[in-house]
């Protein structure tokens, strides 16, 4: 898999995977059990739809450009 770091000017990072890394201090915790009565995907899609609807309601002008490189001022 690709490991995405903030390594923008350095070539893809090599990473070393060692099975059963001995320096891990804590055993892996149990996964939160999924609630079978819930449709998590539907819930997240609903949440996204609400957010996007709110963005749609905000009136933009042609002159409103996106900030690509965050200019902190």
């Amino acid at each position: 898999m690709t490991d995405r770091l903030h390594t923008s000017k350095i070539s893809r990072r090599k990473w070393v995977s060692i099975a059963g890394a001995s320096t891990l201090a804590i055993p892996m915790a149990a996964q939160q059990p999924a609630n079978p009565s819930r449709d998590y995907l539907a819930e997240q899609r609903e949440s996204n739809s609400r957010a996007l609807a709110e963005l749609e309601r905000f009136e933009l002008q042609t002159a409103d450009e996106p900030i690509f490189r965050l200019v902190v001022r």
Binding site: T7, S17, Y40, R50, L60, E65
Partner: protein
């Protein structure tokens, strides 16, 4: 040699002890390694102890100290780093099962800078998986289990820098590095009763750090005081060609150059402290505001205009995180994460369209105009860092939408989302307790004006002792 008090000393005091020869770096490092190893698991705070490299570094620091090669207040000081910062020879897990055995052969710039000043990394600290980018529902959303709060281990330490928050609060490290995309330094700082600084976006290089949102990620110090945050920021901040988002600026800790605090203007809104904050927190805030007024700044009412802050922040993070973790999501390894709600959040984030993301980015520009306008007459905005104290470990972190309170009045409650979207710096300082759990106060200012926050924070901490309190039951 080491008694309980040494674990709750300031950076300055520890450094004085080292420079004067009262204690060696090796002794101090061993003491913290033992403490972190023994007590870190109580709070699920420890990801990995960096024993060998720490002792090697301590040896080199002792050699420098012996030769009076002094490198500043962080020389010889042990610290922990959120486990999204790469350090060679040890796993960098990002708090997530798909990356549990991941290692990098590079050192994050922030850690390189600290090492250059003689600070000693003693451990990688636990975090919420992938810094919570998909939206997590429970405190257990971590490879290491729920972060437990030293003030009450049945309560959450906050996230996503959960281990950093609890480790500093319990005296397991003198300071730690955390990161914040939206709340992840300030929340655990408030919940654990410590002082956390979210620096201006671009001040601290993100080279070697897991990316969650390229335009919103920031790395910052979590310490026992505003002064300690200043010392740490001075070392970790600075330009870095290896980070495309670097602001190219250094930071020099100099609160004395802020000028008279009585000339500062602080914007606040009573509704945040008197209605949005939980009832049990309100007395602490009332007292904190009185202390701030005694310090001298002038207060005036401020309000944020009605804008879709949370929706913009959520859309930006979703879109960027989806791109960053796309291979993990499409491969199906996302299903290995601990939190089902977060798994779904990352999957659905891939469904966002480019026009949605761009719309959010355009509104972001307008938000920048608005906050700049508000700050024409103000120097600092203050709000509760969080309007609730730390939740129970097993409780859902957010109420379902149908039960959420609707705002009675806007106030400044969206400052968390807005400040992070615009990359403006913020400080959270402890200001009391509610039902035995810490309460935090947030201060926000204009970019690159961290000294202003730190000056007010330090003045507040000279008048109070909340930042010196020790959790009950912590030795």
């Amino acid at each position: 040699m080491a008694n309980g008090d040494i674990f709750f000393q300031s950076i300055g005091e520890l450094n004085r002890m080292l420079v004067s020869g009262q204690i060696s770096c090796e002794e101090l490092t061993k003491a913290y390694l033992e403490r972190l190893e023994a007590q870190g698991p109580k709070y699920n705070a420890l990801a990995a102890l960096t024993r060998k490299s720490a002792l090697d570094l301590a040896d080199a620091v002792d050699d420098d100290l012996k030769r009076k090669r002094l490198r500043g207040p962080l020389q010889g000081i042990p610290y922990g780093a959120k486990d999204l910062l790469a350090y060679p020879g040890y796993p960098t897990t990002w708090g997530a099962k798909p990356y549990a055995t991941q290692k990098f052969d590079i050192k994050a710039t922030a850690l390189e800078n600290l090492e250059g000043r003689g600070a000693v990394l003693v451990g990688k600290l636990a975090m919420v998986e992938l810094a919570g980018g998909g939206g997590y529902e429970y405190a257990s959303a971590s490879l290491f289990g729920p972060g437990r709060n030293p003030w009450n281990p049945e309560h959450w330490s906050g996230g996503s820098s959960s281990g950093s928050g609890s480790a500093v609060a319990a005296g397991l490290v003198p300071f730690a590095l955390g990161s914040e995309t939206w709340g992840s330094i300030l929340t655990p700082s408030a919940y654990c009763g410590i002082t956390g600084l979210r620096p201006t976006y671009g001040y601290v290089s993100r080279y070697g750090a897991m990316a969650l949102s390229w335009t919103m990620d920031k790395i910052g110090p979590m310490c026992r005081s505003a002064e300690d945050c200043g010392h740490v920021l001075q070392v970790i901040a600075g330009g870095d060609d290896k980070d495309r988002g670097s602001a190219g600026k250094s930071f020099y800790y100099g609160p004395e150059y802020v000028g008279e605090l009585a000339k500062l203007k602080i914007g606040f809104n009573a509704v945040d402290f008197e209605e949005w904050a939980e009832p049990a927190m309100r007395p602490a805030y009332a007292t904190a505001l009185e202390v701030l007024k005694r310090i001298g700044p002038k207060f005036q009412v401020a309000t944020l205009p009605e804008m879709p802050y949370a929706s913009v922040a959520g859309t930006v993070i979703d879109a960027e995180a989806a791109s960053i973790f796309e291979p993990m999501i499409r491969s199906g390894r996302v299903d290995e994460l601990a939190d089902p709600f977060q798994i779904a959040g990352l999957r659905t984030a891939l469904e966002l369209k480019s026009c949605d993301y761009l719309r959010a980015m355009r509104i972001r520009g307008r938000m920048q105009d608005e906050l700049t306008r508000i700050f024409r007459d103000l120097d600092i905005l203050i709000t509760p860092t969080r309007t609730r104290t730390a939740s129970r470990i097993d409780a859902p972190l957010q109420k379902p939408p149908s039960e959420r309170e609707k705002p009675k009045e806007r106030g400044l409650t969206d400052l968390g989302a807005l400040g992070n979207l615009l990359g403006w710096p913020a400080l959270s300082i402890p200001c009391g307790f509610a039902d035995g759990l810490p309460v935090g106060l947030q201060l926000v200012t204009r970019p690159f004006n961290e000294n202003r926050l730190l000056a007010v924070g330090a003045a507040f901490q000279r008048e109070t002792d909340w930042h010196l309190r020790k959790p009950p039951g912590v030795a």
